[in-house]
Symmetry: C2
Subunit: 293 residues, 2 copies
């Protein structure tokens, strides 16, 4: 398997699916729909839906039954980015090298575009429930989904609340586990649940998710300090300036890098048992560790 | 039936149900939970959940199966109020005679409290789906629910977008149908669907909802001009000042009052066929017409 090629293939697949939900009709709220499209199609890495689809494929080949949830999760991720960037929260001007939603449109539009995307995720899932196949699995997946979004919002709140304050290791982990970790964990669990995996495998894949989740956030913190502004598409060194407490500002770069590597190794261990089928998820963990944006 | 007494009884019932979902534990995001509680328990009239429950009771006595959706709808209504009041949208300082959420807490908290409430509505519904009784009805109700929220957000967007501009009758109706009408219509339809009503009755009750929905918005517009500031709990005459196009600013008070009365009468006609069981919904239409807040 050529990892990069496979990643690109799945990114395109997710983009095609997302494009099906874009609203092109001339309606009074057209600009709201443009603004949703602007953010949703701004060139994200699609890590969450791909993580879900590839976890699903550990246990089941036909990803069709998983696609709605994968797309819905990407909508949630993008809603959270639009709202996090708002002047009232992070007040960021750039994302993926483009103006943030409220800078490109305006604040009211960005607030409502975020609201709309959050809700559209549930439109997509509810459509999938109407199809009635594998209803039990889907309802369990929906429950995981709703709770992960709840945790993500709580994590974002705590992150915002403690900006500029010294926080304990416990709080820092709380923020990471919720703000970034919750959705990544849900992606893996939902993939496994929808595919009909055994409970034991669902737990195992949850451990994989927990490790890459924390690793993902630490990598984000490292990139926020040392990344290339042009590649990253947003200003560097903002965290220290804003008094944000991150892994890097708390433990330094070297310690953070070490932790990142240990977590990635631990994550990969969980996938060994799936042999060749797990190849992509192993490579994905490495890719997330080595990424430059 | 003593309408006022019955209304109060159901308001208390809804409040008790909502209280079950308030989060009291000491968690890092406690203040976010306080802020959700602050808005959710600020003394709203609970019209939407009561409308749903009472429509349900036209066809089915045991309201237990409807309660989750009723509570979820009230959460949606409150999320929309929190976000509408934000500085980036309506920039209102008071609601129900109390400071708006972002004034009492701060903007970040208000944005995230709204997001959280929107998502909590789906947590509540997903719990109800896990119970598995009447699954087919619940899934259809969820679909109605998601689409009504979508329409409400679109209506709010168009309302904001056209503030201070002259708009056509068509656009004014579009705003009303979506911003206020969509949720009210969904309340009636979901009540009927969950109760197992015949399609013919679902359509009939939809007509009732469409009429009271538009009546409700016209009454809101009238109160915005002529209401008692102390009773209403928010400043009067704001619409004209902000250049908002409403029924009243467009057609004048007299014409608006006439339209309100015709719509209410039409709504009541739809309920005649349910005899005594429809008494409350008839009285409710009159109450909504005559309310002073």
């Amino acid at each position: 398997m050529d990892f990069k090629l496979e990643l690109k293939k799945y990114q395109e697949l997710v983009n095609e699916e997302l494009a099906k939900y874009l609203r092109k009709e001339a309606v009074p709220e057209s600009i709201l729909n443009h603004s949703v499209e602007y953010s949703l199609m701004a060139g994200g890495k699609r890590l969450r839906p791909i993580l879900m689809l590839k976890t699903y494929q550990l246990f089941n080949e036909n990803i069709e039954n998983c696609m709605s949830f994968a797309v819905a999760m990407e909508m949630i991720h993008n809603f959270s980015l639009i709202h996090d960037d708002l002047p009232g929260i992070d007040n960021d001007d750039f994302r993926h090298g483009k103006l943030t939603n409220h800078k490109k449109f305006n604040e009211a539009t960005a607030i409502l575009a975020g609201d709309s995307l959050l809700n559209q995720a549930y439109i997509v899932i509810s459509k999938s429930l109407l199809q009635e196949q594998q209803l039990e699995r889907k309802i369990r997946a929906l429950s995981e989904f709703t709770h992960s979004v709840d945790r993500m919002i709580a994590g974002e709140y705590v992150d915002t609340e403690y900006e500029g304050k010294q926080i304990s290791h416990e709080y820092l982990e709380y923020i990471h586990n919720n703000k970034t970790g919750a959705l990544l964990k849900a992606c893996c669990r939902i993939g496994a649940i929808l595919a009909g995996a055994q409970e034991e495998d669902i737990e195992n894949i949850t451990e994989y998710a927990n490790h890459i989740g924390l690793a993902f956030q630490i990598k984000d913190d490292i990139l926020s300090e040392t990344g290339d502004e042009k590649v990253l598409g947003k200003p560097i060194g903002n965290d220290k300036e804003k008094g944000k407490c991150t892994y890097v500002t708390k433990y330094g770069l070297e310690e953070s890098q070490k932790k990142l590597e240990v977590l990635t190794k631990e994550a990969i261990k969980r996938i060994e048992k799936y042999g060749e089928k797990g190849e992509f998820l192993k490579e994905l963990a490495l890719y997330m560790m080595e990424r430059n944006k």
